[in-house]
């Protein structure tokens, strides 16, 4: 790894620590990292959308037209329409004509709601309804084990739980009497499900932190791999940079502790 690459890597580690410092409190380093990433990611989005979508989906469609013909002479001239609609969005820059931008917006919302109606009805309602109509495995009702997930008992419980959950979501009926009882069973099932999926996610989230620790370790290893023949660029600058960052972090922590003690005494 060349020294310039190592410096970039150090920069990444510094920003990692700066972001983690948010856990303690809002501080200048976090503010720096936050504002930086907002700008950089916005710029990144512009570039990716430009090269990835705007050029192939619009510019290249109209590339054989001429500007003085408003590109209407290009072979796929109908792509002028979305471009015009896009430009209509820009009427929002003006106060007087900003209402024009509601046309493309109306079109956009019309298209998306229109797609949603049959699609969501099919995927979320019809298919789930079909999935509920199972043939329950009566022969294997307890499956030798009450905690079996494929036994008839489990199938029945899933069915009843779903019904109860649906009952809980009724808006126009008070949760009273038998109805209320079923709804209560429904919310219990919901809560058990939520708890389980919360608990299941913890492992994946801790893995994210382990991953950050591994990156930091890789940086530390890189700083001291003088013996590694793979790095012919190695120089004493590597550990110096490493110690500088460590000293800086330690220094900042000590300063924070001193400040805290001072405040407490005062």
């Amino acid at each position: 790894m060349e020294f310039s690459d190592f410096l970039w890597m150090t920069c990444g580690i510094f920003l990692t620590l700066a972001t983690f410092s948010f856990l303690y409190k809002d501080n200048p380093f976090y503010k720096f990292a936050e504002h930086l990433v907002v700008g950089v990611s916005a710029g990144f989005t512009i570039i990716v959308l430009w090269h990835g979508t705007l050029v192939p989906n619009l510019f290249q469609k109209l590339e054989d037209g001429n500007w003085f013909m408003l590109w209407l002479n290009s072979s796929e001239w109908w792509y002028v329409v979305p471009a015009v609609l896009g430009l209509l969005m820009w009427t929002r820059f003006s106060k007087k004509y900003s209402w024009v931008s509601r046309w493309p917006m109306g079109l956009y919302i019309g298209i998306s709601t229109g797609i949603a109606i049959p699609l969501e009805m099919s995927n979320r309602v019809n298919k789930q309804l079909y999935a509920m109509m199972v043939e329950i495995d009566w022969a294997n009702f307890f499956g030798g084990n009450i905690l079996s997930t494929t036994s008839g008992f489990a199938q029945l419980l899933i069915f009843l739980g779903t019904i109860a959950g649906l009952v809980y979501f009724f808006f126009s009926k008070e949760h009273k009497g038998v109805f209320g009882g079923v709804a209560t069973f429904g919310i219990w099932i919901l809560m058990i499900g939520f708890g389980a999926s919360f608990g299941y996610t913890v492992m994946a989230r801790v893995s994210l932190f382990i991953n950050r620790m591994q990156d930091t370790k890789a940086w530390g290893v890189e700083a001291f791999n003088a013996s590694d023949v793979a790095n012919p660029h190695y120089s004493s600058m590597y550990p110096i940079v490493f110690y500088l960052l460590v000293a800086f972090v330690v220094g900042y922590i000590i300063k924070e502790i001193m400040d805290h003690l001072k405040r407490k005494n005062a």
Binding site: Y30, E34, E63, M133, F171
Partner: protein
Amino acid sequence: MKVKLLFAVILLLLLSSLSFAQDDSAEIDTSAVVEELVLPAPPGNLSGVDKPNDHGHSIDLSWELSPDDGGGLNTVLQYDIYHWVPNLMLELNLVRDSISVIQKIIRKTTNGIIEGSQADSMKKVFEKLSRSELFDVRNSLTEYVKKGNKGLAEACKSYPEGGAWLFLDKKPSGTSTFDHIGSKEFKSSGFVPDFANLYYRVDAVTADGAKASSNILGPIQSSGQWYNTFRTPVVFSVLLFTLLTVFFVQKARKGADLYVRPLGGIEAVDDAIGRATEMGRPILYVLGLGSAADIATIASFTILGRVAKKVAEYQTELLVPTYDPIVMTVAQEVVKSAYLDAGRPDAYKEDTVHFVTQSQFAYVAAVNGIMLRELPATNIYMGKFFAESLILAETGALAGSIQISGTDEIAQIPFFIVACDYTLIGEELYAASAYLGKEPVLLGSLKAQDYAKAAIIVLAVIGVILAQFDFGTEFVNLFEVVN
């Protein structure tokens, strides 16, 4: 211009005659070699139908397994599927290749072209042309292909003369069906013409390369349909639900009294706005990561409208950082007209609704910053949320805000429930705008939703009872939706 077109066509004919020889040799049924090998029994009874409920250009094939597949000599390794195409198709494919080479030259992406290949020789010829000449040649070639494609159906009639068998795909042994999904793009080489006679053949292939061909299927034609029968159950659901909604909305218009049970999260909204006013701190409204195409976001817009109106009445500050530019524009409209409704258009500031960035965690970083620096009294999260839900909600709790959330992302509901004071679970998000507005018309649609749920429960119970008996499966199958 005419000269150039002529030149291009001549070139293509030259190339096509060249490559025809190649195609033939590639297609050999090396019978000399095969003789020495043990031939497997051929697959039998190849049959096919036009793929149902599609846009056309596709045929579903099926055949009986070769007796030597899974039994007999058990030597069959795979099935090779061939289809017959007229020479015109091969010629058009070459023209398509040259179009793609021209396209590459225009876009300056010729790096991938292998030296000495056919594309390379085309490249050398075309490279000398100017940009506008390239466009002309490309467009006239495209026109040529377009016209040629129309003649394909006619050319197919010449079977078995004037054409060749083309390899389509291979399938592992044990498979007895193959869907030939052709392209509908006339520019693509996988184009399959509709209403043209198509012919197919399947070869059983052994590990040694011995092949035995099935009967030839054809002529068979593909076509597109105007109604997808697989989706009939969805038609019924949508129609019924629409009727229910319209009926209850009309009933509500006429002034029927519709009861709705109170929802904790909704009632908290009013209090929360009052609390913010008392404390003199702003209200943060997060629309989530959805685009304006997500219905959850659209539902959130209407909630934002109600919240903004109250905020304007109470004269509190509102902050709406957004993730998607279209969401931003719509939200600006919504907030602006809410202020207008409240009679305080002067209090509206352009940067109330502002754009942050279109990157999940960069957006979260920025919203976190807002929470810790502006210390909003109330955070409202409504819309689509992903992994960031817990980061937002925990930071908000750290800042001491009252938090109300609602999302239809099931995976995130647990985190909102744990970290927020009030959570609208799934469907409640969609009901919220009706609740907040208290307009009878909107409450009518809630009633329709309830009846739909009741219908689903009844159908599910009937279905599950009938599913236990053999005669019930027909009823159950009525509800199946195939893609």
